[in-house]
Every structure is written in C-alpha cells, then in structure tokens.
Symmetry: C2
Subunit: 347 residues, 2 copies
DNA sequence: AGCTGTTATGTCAGCGCTAACAATGGCTAG
DNA sequence: CTAGCCATTGTTAGCGCTGACATAACAGCT
C-alpha cells in the first residue's frame, strides 16, 4: 500500500538550533558558532545581525553538542569531603564564583573522606569530559592517582601542599599547622600537651597536623600524646569523650589541641561542665576557626585556614591552565598559603 | 603531485569508545550501549562478556555523547542563594547525596539573592540539557519564570511553599514562621515585639516572615514594628546596629525577632555589651538554628528549618518526575514541611 | 600585473552515542 | 504446520555542534 516510507522522524522537539539562527541571518552555521566562541573573527556587521537573531529566536547554545564536537567542556568537577561542613563550604563558594565569572560551571560531589567515593566521583566526572578536575588533599586511592594522571586535563589538589608533587596544589602544609599550634602552647608555658584526633576516619590531614605537633614536642624534650575518639561518633561528642577521658588520667594534660573546632567546642563545654577553668586548668585549641568559635565562652583559640582563598586560587589556577585567563606565571610558589593563628581566650 | 588526499584525521586522542568495546566482544555498539542503559535487555552471557571487556579496556562512557543522542542528561542544576551560608549548605549536601545515589550529578550555582544572577544561571544550565532544575523560593524574574515554564523539564522550588503554584515545591511557608515566632513571644508575655530584617537585599522570604509576624501582632491588638539595617553591612554588624538603634528609642522593645541567627547573634552580643540582660530586658529570637546558636550565652531561641529534609525530598521529587525511582504518589502534600521552634534561653 | 599575506566566511566530515526500525531465531497457539 | 509473538541483536541515521581545510575578497608590496 505505502509506496515510499517517509523519512524517519527524530524528536527534534522544535528546539532552536544554530542552523535556525544561521538560516535566519543568511550565513552558515559555523559563522554563528564563531559568534559565540571567537567573536573577534566575525565582522562587526554580522556580529550585530547575529546577536539580534539570537535573542529574537531565544536561541540557547547546546553545550553538550559543542563539547562533544570540540572534546572540551566548560565544566569543572570538584570532589570535596563534604559540602555542609563549616570549612569546605567557603572553598566551594569561592571556587564556584570564580569559575562562574569566567563562564565555567561547577560539578560537585562529596567524598566524606572516603577514597572509594572519591574514586567513583572522579570516574563519573571524567565521563563528562570536564575541562579540569579539583580534588581535596593528596591522599587518593592508587587507581584514582592513575586515572587522574592519565586524564590529560589540569588537576588541582586543594587544602594541602606537598612539596614535589606533580599536580598543581593549592593549600598549606598541615604539618606546619601542628607545629604552629604546639609552638603557641609551648610559648604560653604549657608543658603537658595532648592531641585529639578527628573521629571521622579517613581524615589523613589531621594525622599530618598531629605529626607536626608530635615532632615539635619531641624537639622540646616533651612527651607527645594523642587520643583517638571512637569512630562513628559526631565530632561534638568525640570532643566530649576526649576531654572526659583525658582529664581522668593520673597526670592530666594542661593543654589540648583538637583536630578541629567542632571537637574543641565539645571539649570546651565539657570542661566547663566538669568544673574546670579554661585555660587555667586546661587550655584548649582548635583548628578551622568555624563561625561559632569566637562566640564560645571562653572564646576558642584556633588556627584559621585560608578557605576562601584556596577556592579562589584553585579556580584561577584551573582557568590559567585552560588559558581562559592569562597566566600570572611565577605563582607556583604562591600556591602555598598560610594559616593564621587566632589567639582568643582559651589558651 | 598528491594523488588522493588522505582522509582527514580527527583528534580522537586514543580514547576508548563504545565501538572499541563492541569490537572486542564481537557485538554491535548498540548492544554495549544497552548494557549500560537497559541491562535487562541484554542476555546474561553477553552481559558477562561485555562487563569484562569494559573493565579490561578501562572504558568510560562519554556522557556528553550519550546525552546529546538521547536529548537527556543525568545532570540536575541547582541555583541557591549561597553555598557557604550555614543553612543552604545542608540542603545542597542532602540534595547532592540523594542524586548521587541514583547516578545523577549536581551542577551548582549561587545567586546571592539576585534575580538577575539566578536568571543567568538558569539560562546557562539549560544549555546542558539538564534532567531537571532546582531553584530557591518562588521569587523569580519574569523571564526566569518564562524560561522555566518552557523548559519542559521538572522544576522544583525549594525553601518555600506557596499553595497553588504550578512547579513542584518543597519547603515551608515563611509566613508561618513569622506567626510561630510572634506567637511564641506573645505566649511568653512579651508585648513590644520588634522585627529586624535581613541586610541582604533580595531576601524576600524574610519579608514573608515579617508579614506573618505583623499580622499576628495586629490580631493581638499590638503594634508591629520593623527595623531595616543598612544594606551592605555583614549580618553580624547589622544585628548590632539594629540592637543599638532599637534600644535607644523612647519605648524600646521587650523582644526582638531577627530575620536570621546571624543577625540575632550580633544583636545578642551587643545587648550584653550594652549591659542588658537577655531575656529579662529584651528577649531575642532568630531563624535558622545555625551551628553556633545553641552555644551562645544565653543560648539563642530560634526556629529550625528542615534544611536537610528539603534537599533530600527535592531530590526524591526530581527523581520521581524522571521516573528514576517509583513515584510514592500522593506525596504532594508531604512537600509542605514544618519548621521547629527551638526554645532556649534567650526568650 | 603578479605575488604574498591577511581577514572573513563556507564545505565537509565527524565527535561518541542512541532512537527508531528491521531482522533473526526460538517458541507458542490455533 | 504456520501465523504470531517475544526476546535478542543489528542497521541506519542522525543529535547539534565545531575542527581542519578550502575559498573568496581584498590589501600591500615588488
């Protein structure tokens, strides 16, 4: 019955395409493409007319198609331990904003300090041919290392600085933070200084801070001493547990460095509930300078990491690597940032 | 000279493609494609062999190509006022995690309460043919409304609940929060209750909370009264400014509702510095239940929004709309969530 | 005039994948 | 025994865009 089968239809969905714009203006599709990607290569007159047609038709470039054709995208993937934590949020914010200012988008995933989740996220992100990838710290699973090395895109490690590593790094030496905290307490005259680790397993950076603390105490001829709260308890509880346990010892510490301000806050409030005076009976020191740290009673002495700066500089390094912005060259060294000691009432 | 020009080369870059896998196994590319997207339509035996080939070759599906071909992606865009703020971070975290569990990715942008930035973000996101779009509140520019309506993808509005609006909404009625705060203070016997607005322009939700407060006071035959800090100052400062200014009045308030906990914290500390007793001289109430709120002295009474729940349910609604997970149907009503009054020492 | 170089635009082929349709073979129902 | 059906796999034709290359037009130069 049917003579010629009609050409197979495809669900174009009536979306406005480059070709529609091109036809409207009377040029080839490529010229319109250039209008978006290399406007300087299109004559003034055409630029004007294309611009009008674009807004008249309400054309939205299909970034997927563009990325597929050019094997480049304007997506940057970021894997970070968590989003809602008080420190990383600032980094994400600054990173995202800086990218956005230069027309790039942020694809985000959290790893919860799990190397396996990090690997999954990296793998998935690579499926999107991202322009670059940003991860946290230099601790990765072996396969993640391999994948990142073979990805042939810029990779930036944040929140850490390990001299001599290949990828671009934007962060600080956690070891130094441990040294800084220990020195501060030593200068203040404390001698029995304990260190409380994070209850979150996989937070290797905290271990480096402890190493800095340990070496500093050893160099001063003092005994170092660390407490690991049971995993699986929330930071605040872990701090409480640590304080109770440490103070029960025969010779309790006269100062405690907590792996972060959440733990320190738990410790601080527990100390007060136990009737201890802070810092007279026991000094307390945190890390992170969270929003609440200055409002505690006594206000918490802590070390403030350059969270926003990390995000911003990481984004700038990414954009430089992609030649989106000119390279401000010998900045390699400026990737090593400093933490700031915030001395308040608890030490 | 040259007889036949060689076929033009393209920068394949040696990446492993579907075809490579298919060739290795000895099937067509489509079968491998089905292996990933509709595994149930591939025979057991092939599934096995394809799976092996995939990991042997280290094949990573090119999601761009897939999305282009199918006009569907597994990206969900989210536009939120800010990332690092203490409340939205939880929503983002829960949203991202829930999406990730079902193989979807989060593309994130922040609007800083600016309708224009929101519109830009939405426009850009649409270029990625996202599977769905999530925005904050029901306040959008006219063109954003239009774009969203025409997008033909699920759109979810979060952090707000306006009866009778078309898009899926997951949130609460800010008006109710205002009522709840006012009622609480009235019940406690306060009569001269002031409201302090947010210093961030564009936070329309705060205006709705104020409306709830205003109507409640009016219904009680009391005068309502609001203070707007100068824009451009950080929340903490704005709270300070408000407290100083309000307390200088001839008949100062006996209770103040702040638009959020940051403002309230500024107000609280200022009150104490001014020698006022809280809550005896002036009660203080916030909104948000930020991390520090319970640690202030006196601990801040506030209203806790279901931040994580919003993120999680928004993600579930998105996934349902996309038929990724079965629809738990008459949940429409469950999208309206409740805030919780957290009574502490400041009221 | 002829040559080179530069700028502005077009042609063509494909990026890697999947929807629509077709084909194959085994199996049941009439 | 054959039509009809399901399950499984293959063929074809793009999705919307951009790279490499080609071309045209025109300027500046010998």
């Amino acid at each position: 019955m049917n003579d010629i089968s009609p050409p197979r239809k495809r669900r174009n969905a009536g979306r406005v395409t480059l070709n529609d714009v091109a036809r409207q203006v009377g040029v080839s599709a490529l010229t319109v493409s250039r209008f978006f990607n290399h406007p300087e290569r299109v004559s003034q007159a055409l630029r004007q007319r294309i611009g009008e047609a674009v807004s008249a038709l309400g054309y939205v470039p299909n970034l997927m198609a563009g990325s597929l054709a050019s094997a480049r995208s304007r997506i940057v993937g970021m894997v970070i331990p968590n989003i809602s934590g008080p420190i990383f949020a600032d980094t994400i914010q600054a990173f995202s904003d800086t990218l956005a200012r230069h027309g790039h988008q942020l694809l985000l995933a959290s790893s919860y300090f799990s190397l396996e989740q990090e690997e999954n996220a990296v793998r998935t992100f690579l499926g999107w041919s991202p322009a670059a990838l940003v991860v946290t710290s230099h601790f990765h699973s072996e396969s993640t290392e391999k994948i990142l090395a073979e990805a042939e895109i810029p990779v930036v490690e944040t929140w850490d600085y390990q001299p001599g590593r290949a990828p671009i790094q934007v962060g600080f030496l956690h070891y130094d933070v441990g040294v800084m905290a220990a020195r501060h307490l030593l200068d203040k005259g404390y001698r029995r200084i304990a260190f409380v680790l994070n209850s979150a397993v996989g937070d290797f950076s905290a271990l480096e801070r402890r190493a800095g603390y340990g070496d500093t105490l050893q160099a001063a001829g003092l005994e170092s001493w660390s407490f690991a709260p049971s995993a699986e308890c929330v930071p605040f509880e872990a701090g409480k547990q640590a304080m109770e346990s440490l103070m029960k010892e025969a010779r309790p510490p006269d100062a405690i460095i907590f792996a972060n301000d959440n733990l320190a806050a738990g410790g601080l409030l527990t100390a007060r509930r136990m009737g201890l005076r802070v810092p007279d009976d026991c000094a307390v020191m945190g890390f992170g300078d969270y929003a609440f740290s200055g409002m505690l009673l006594p206000a918490l002495s802590t070390i403030r990491p350059p969270a926003r700066l990390i995000g911003e500089i990481a984004a700038l390094r990414v954009l430089e690597s992609l030649s989106v912005i000119p390279s401000t060259t010998p900045l390699q060294r400026l990737n090593r940032l400093e933490c700031e000691l915030v001395e308040r009432e608890s030490t």
